[in-house]
Symmetry: C2
Subunit: 218 residues, 2 copies
């Protein structure tokens, strides 16, 4: 399928996030902002969540990237509506772009939108895009000092995914340090220890998402 590619608009106005929120609520859509480093495994995580949730929900995806559309092609191959947002040099997705993108989806036919933010631990955390849920993805090979070094993302996230957890034995990664650093910033985020290769805890995160949707819309 031809993948729609949009260039990001830039605006200083945070107010667009509120417009997104209203639009989502009016259409019973739940929007999930997925953030993490380049190579943390955001696309693979979204793909596994799609597989787990698509029986119950209609899903769409927005892929934010500096260049190219390789991730969008992977989503498209699943038969899931996807829009590629090219970031026009910016290192984060702005709410005005999400507002524009919502116009390209048939929201009556969509229950969940995953937004894969640009691979970056800094800028995306600073911009609310009108999302219902923020997922921070930290992969084991990145090391256990990332919460301490990039606190904002982990402060603002509803869920922390420790990804590539099947790689624990090959890296010096202290799970307890990450939990301690996270809890100093954020008492309530749910932590999942996931491997998209083995399926470890994917269903648990899936259930967490379903619970949040239920509590928003029921």
């Amino acid at each position: 399928m031809d993948i729609k590619i949009l260039m990001q608009e830039l605006s200083d106005k945070g107010e667009y996030a509120d417009g997104v929120k209203v639009r989502l609520r009016d259409n019973n859509v739940f929007l999930i902002n997925v953030m993490g480093s380049p190579g943390a495994g955001k696309t693979s995580l979204i793909i596994e969540l799609i597989k787990s949730l698509r029986g119950e929900f209609n899903i769409a995806v927005v892929e934010g990237d500096i260049a190219g559309k390789v991730d969008a092609e992977k989503i498209d191959a699943l038969g899931i509506p996807v829009i590629q947002l090219n970031l026009n040099g910016a290192c984060h997705i702005e709410p005005i772009s999400i507002k524009t993108i919502l116009g390209y989806f048939d929201l009556d036919e969509i229950d969940i939108i995953f937004v894969e933010n640009i691979g970056n631990l800094v800028c995306p955390a600073e911009f609310d895009i009108g999302e219902d849920m923020k997922i921070a993805v930290l992969s084991i090979p990145e090391g256990d000092d990332k919460v301490e070094k990039y606190p904002l993302l982990f402060t603002k996230s509803d869920v922390l995914v420790l990804n590539k957890y099947d790689m624990m034995e090959y890296f010096e990664f202290q799970d307890s340090k990450v939990v301690k650093d996270t809890r100093e910033l954020n008492e309530t985020s749910n932590i999942f220890r996931i491997s998209t290769r083995t399926g470890r805890e994917v269903e648990d995160l899936s259930r967490d998402i379903k619970n949040r949707i239920t509590s928003k819309y029921n």
Copy 2:
């Protein structure tokens, strides 16, 4: 030792990079800008290069981070002069900060300064800081699509380090794809396949740095 911590100044003026260059040349100092994702292994690479080069050169380090000073403490433990630059919310190091920092070092006593840029594949590539050499660090667990997705860094780098190369067997990473994507952007960068754990190709990169210093100053 007490680690000096500076807050980044922000300026739109790229001209500071030229001032840095003049200052380096006047003092026979070679400045290396090390860039890559969070967790790509930049600090470990700098530490191995310090071990390899400190017999012949006096070395100093600048650690750029959003928050904290964990990396600076690792460098300090080696007895190497280090300044922590806290980035004041920015996602890159600006040349004006490097200009200020040069004033804190005794440049007569320094031959090489490593600058560890913030963990980020986007913004740091956009800012020259007056460096003599740009090293891009891409670790195997991040995946082989990063050159395609974040082209600017790889276009502008003098050296590409494929780091954590000892992890090749555990990840689906096509070395040839990365080489091909890199060569489309950059015909001349040298590529090293490094493991800081096993020491693989660290000496080769060390030799590359020595050659560049010789060709600048002899």
